[in-house]
């Protein structure tokens, strides 16, 4: 289990960060982690050659599931919320996947986008859920242990780090083995995979399910961090942001989504602080530069370095 040993390093680093750094950095790390988990799910899907422009659907479902637990059922345990977020998203993905796994390319992308916008439309019309204003949630315990205010987000970050590392290890195992090669096969030549006796439909379906559940987990993590949910989480710009981060990092590594999400959050914050009038343009220029000079994402830098060593 070399990968498991390697995974301890980021876990220790994140725990150190959670315990020592100022509150705002804890928050940003948590948000980056949440988005990293979603993008890692997207990567699993991309392995089969499919890009979803609708991961916001599951991100939103995860967040709302966590928030509704606290808001309507008065369950304020962070661990339950995280599980509920992933489970709710996984459930919906299991249903929608039945249909979506039949489609490829632009049709898959547009259909996934359509489903996320349907949820957005429903949430906007739900006055009881605060419509576009959304509502607050409060997680007060973790596995039944009450948390002091101020400490809670540090605990959530550690919990998030554990979740992310476990999920990353599972994905690493999955993609590194038979299943990963099958997924690549579906991407490269679906017909041949079928002739070899495997079911491309099943591969796409399972990968879609995994991606959905991971987006739900990411959504619940983000909801815990922000303490507020709103329909913007399901809007297509949020889904687009996940694709942006995936392209920023590249699709060749398990770590790339987390690094790219951290860089994205940092870039956005720095742009907002130093160029409040043109922060969107700064992000756009960064995107352009990456597409022009590093078409396979930031990870190409790491690959190049490894080759030169």
């Amino acid at each position: 289990m070399k990968a498991a040993i390697v995974a301890i390093a980021p876990l220790v680093a994140l725990t150190g960060l959670a315990l020592l750094s100022p509150q705002w950095l804890v928050f940003m790390a948590m948000l980056a982690l949440a988005k990293g988990v979603v993008v890692l799910g997207l990567l699993v899907l991309m392995r089969t050659g499919l890009v979803s422009f609708g991961q916001g659907l599951y991100f939103g479902i995860g967040a709302y599931a966590a928030a509704l637990l606290s808001h309507h059922l008065h369950v304020a345990d962070a661990a339950v919320m995280l599980l509920a977020g992933a489970a709710a998203a996984g459930l919906i993905a299991a249903l929608l996947g039945l249909l979506l796994a039949r489609y490829r390319d632009i049709f898959f992308a547009m259909l996934s986008l359509a489903f996320s916008m349907i949820l957005y439309g429903v949430l906007v019309k739900s006055a009881a859920l605060g419509s576009t204003d959304g509502f607050n949630l409060h997680a007060r315990t973790f596995f039944g242990v009450a948390l002091a205010s101020g400490v809670e987000r540090r605990v959530f970050l550690i919990a998030g780090a554990v979740c992310a590392v476990v999920v990353a290890l599972l994905v690493h195992r999955l993609l590194g083995g038979h299943w990963g090669r099958l997924a690549t096969g579906v991407r490269d030549n679906e017909l041949r995979v079928a002739y070899l006796g495997a079911s491309p439909y099943r591969v796409v379906y399972v990968n879609y399910l995994i991606a959905g559940a991971m987006a739900g987990l990411g959504g619940a993590l983000a909801a815990l961090a922000v303490g507020h949910v709103d329909p913007e989480m399901t809007y297509w710009t949020t889904s687009g942001e996940f694709v942006f981060i995936a392209i920023l990092g590249g699709t060749q590594s398990i770590l790339a989504p987390f690094v790219a999400a951290s860089i994205f959050e940092a870039l956005r914050t720095i742009a907002s602080q130093y160029a409040p009038n043109v922060w969107q343009m700064s992000l756009g220029l960064a995107m352009l530069a990456i597409i022009m000079f590093l078409p396979a994402g930031l990870w190409t830098l790491a690959e190049r370095r490894r080759r030169s060593v």
Binding site: V6, A9, P10, A13, L17, S21, P22, Q23, W24, L25, F27, M28, A29, L31, V124, K125, A127, G130, S131, T132, D133, G134, F135, N136, S149, G150, H172, L175, G176, G180, A222, V226, G227, H228, D230, E232, M233, Y235, S253, I254, L255, A256, F258, V259, S262, I263, A266, R268, T269, I270, S272, Q273, P276, N277, W279, Q280, L301, A302, R305, R306
Partner: protein
């Protein structure tokens, strides 16, 4: 599929170290005031930029000491103020991140136009223990669903906007029998319509609601909705639209006779008058979310804001400008009350104690921090009717409603108060 860990960690570390360096620039001398307002997106034009302009103007003139009494002292209690301005665009999640980054860099935060942002920021402000003054967002939920120590709102809630236009309408046309609505399909539009509908039902029991049209936000084209409204037979049409949607409604509705056939109420229509001018048809009932802009009282402070703003930006200040200046002056009043005659700068707890239940003079008239245990402002409301006179748009037949007539008492939720009779 072998991850290069060393690179990954290095890059992540570099990103975080870079971040750590960001808020280190804590200057000592002036009081730093964080200003959060829309600098981009659809809300920037009508609200965000006029508010930013007002903030820059007010800060500069406060530091110069040229603001009329009772704000003639320089800065806040003699200490100059410095603004740190950030963009509110990007949604509540991004705003919470930016707010957390802003907190270590400033002494006070003033901002937020979107109700969603306000709802998300308030609990974070409480957690961060940072005095945060919301200046524009309208939802009454902030202090009705929770109570805060560190959060204040110096602008009145959206409740009185629609209660006051309903009162105005019933006074002018006591026999009104039917209403219809055209509002944007998001929280603001839904809440505004619900308040107006409930207020009309309370004031005129048995009133008929012909139709409520809810096109999606920023649709821009309202051909189908206007047709439905024209065929609805409603006497009154209520709309809380703003920005490009409001301009679209006026420009598309006026040529089709929407404003002639029906009494149209634009509950937040004031920011459009600077852009549309005489194209707003005569007889339109207009609100400004408080006594702002053309509804401002004839005080020195109102005249000062109007003339200095007009001189610098070549347009009159709209309600967003008024509310921003009002928020800054409110903080100044609390700061100076807390400081008293001493020389020491008051700490945050003292400023908060002074701010609670404070009554101060804003450019729109007296502001009472009367709701939400002394954290939420109420003000008089004003409503008027448009009329073009000599090629210029005028607001005539202005009615004023005292603050406690159009706002619920403390501790009562707006919706229940409207439904139970709009009484003290």
């Amino acid at each position: 599929m072998r991850p290069s860990l060393s690179f990954g960690l290095c890059a992540a570390l570099a990103a975080f170290v870079f971040l750590l360096a960001v808020p280190a620039s804590l200057a000592q001398q002036p009081l730093k005031v964080g200003i959060v307002t829309f600098l981009s997106g659809p809300a920037a034009g009508p609200f965000g930029v006029p508010a930013r302009n007002a903030a820059e103007l007010t800060a500069e003139l406060l530091n110069a000491g040229t603001v009329p009494a009772p704000y003639s002292q320089k800065g806040f209690g003699g200490t100059p103020i410095e603004l740190v301005i950030i963009d509110e665009a990007g949604g509540p999640q991004k705003q919470v991140a930016e707010y957390r980054n802003l907190v270590p860099r400033v002494d006070i935060v003033i901002g937020y136009i979107s109700s969603g942002d306000c709802l998300a920021i308030a609990p974070v402000a409480e957690e961060q223990k940072k005095l945060t003054v919301l200046f524009d967002c309208g939802t009454p939920r902030i202090f009705e669903d929770a109570s805060y120590k560190y959060v204040f709102r110096t602008g009145p809630t959206g409740t009185m906007d629609n209660v006051s236009v309903a009162l105005y309408l019933v006074e002018r046309t006591p026999n009104v029998k039917s209403i219809a609505g055209l509002n944007q399909n998001y929280a603001w539009g839904q809440d505004s319509w619900a308040d107006f509908e409930n207020a009309m039902k309370t004031l005129k029991p048995g009133i008929e609601v012909k139709t409520s049209q809810m096109p999606k936000l920023f649709a821009g084209q309202f051909g189908a909705e206007i047709t439905t409204l024209l065929g609805s037979g409603a006497e009154v049409i209520h709309s809380s639209m703003w920005g490009g949607d409001l301009e679209g409604l006026v420009l598309q509705g006026a040529p089709r006779g929407l404003f002639e056939k029906h009494k149209v109420v634009l509950s937040a229509g004031e920011p459009a008058i600077n852009r549309l001018g005489t194209r707003i048809p005569d007889g339109t009932i207009l609100g400004a979310r408080g006594p702002f802009g053309p509804f401002a009282p004839g005080t020195d402070l109102a005249r000062w804001l109007k003339t200095t703003y007009q001189d610098r930006y070549h347009v009159p200040p709209n309600y967003a400008s008024f509310k921003m200046t009002q928020a800054i002056l409110g903080v100044k009043a609390a700061y100076e009350k807390a400081k008293g005659s001493g020389n020491e700068a008051p700490d945050q707890d003292k400023i908060i104690a002074a701010f609670e239940n404070l009554t101060f003079e804003g450019p729109g008239g007296p502001v009472k921090m009367a709701l939400g245990k002394g954290h939420q402002a109420i003000m008089d409301a004003a409503v008027g009717t448009t009329r073009v006179e000599g090629g210029e748009l005028k607001i005539v037949d202005i009615a004023r409603y005292s603050a406690d007539k159009v706002n619920p008492p403390d501790g009562v939720k707006s919706e229940a108060w409207i439904k139970s009779g709009i009484k003290k």
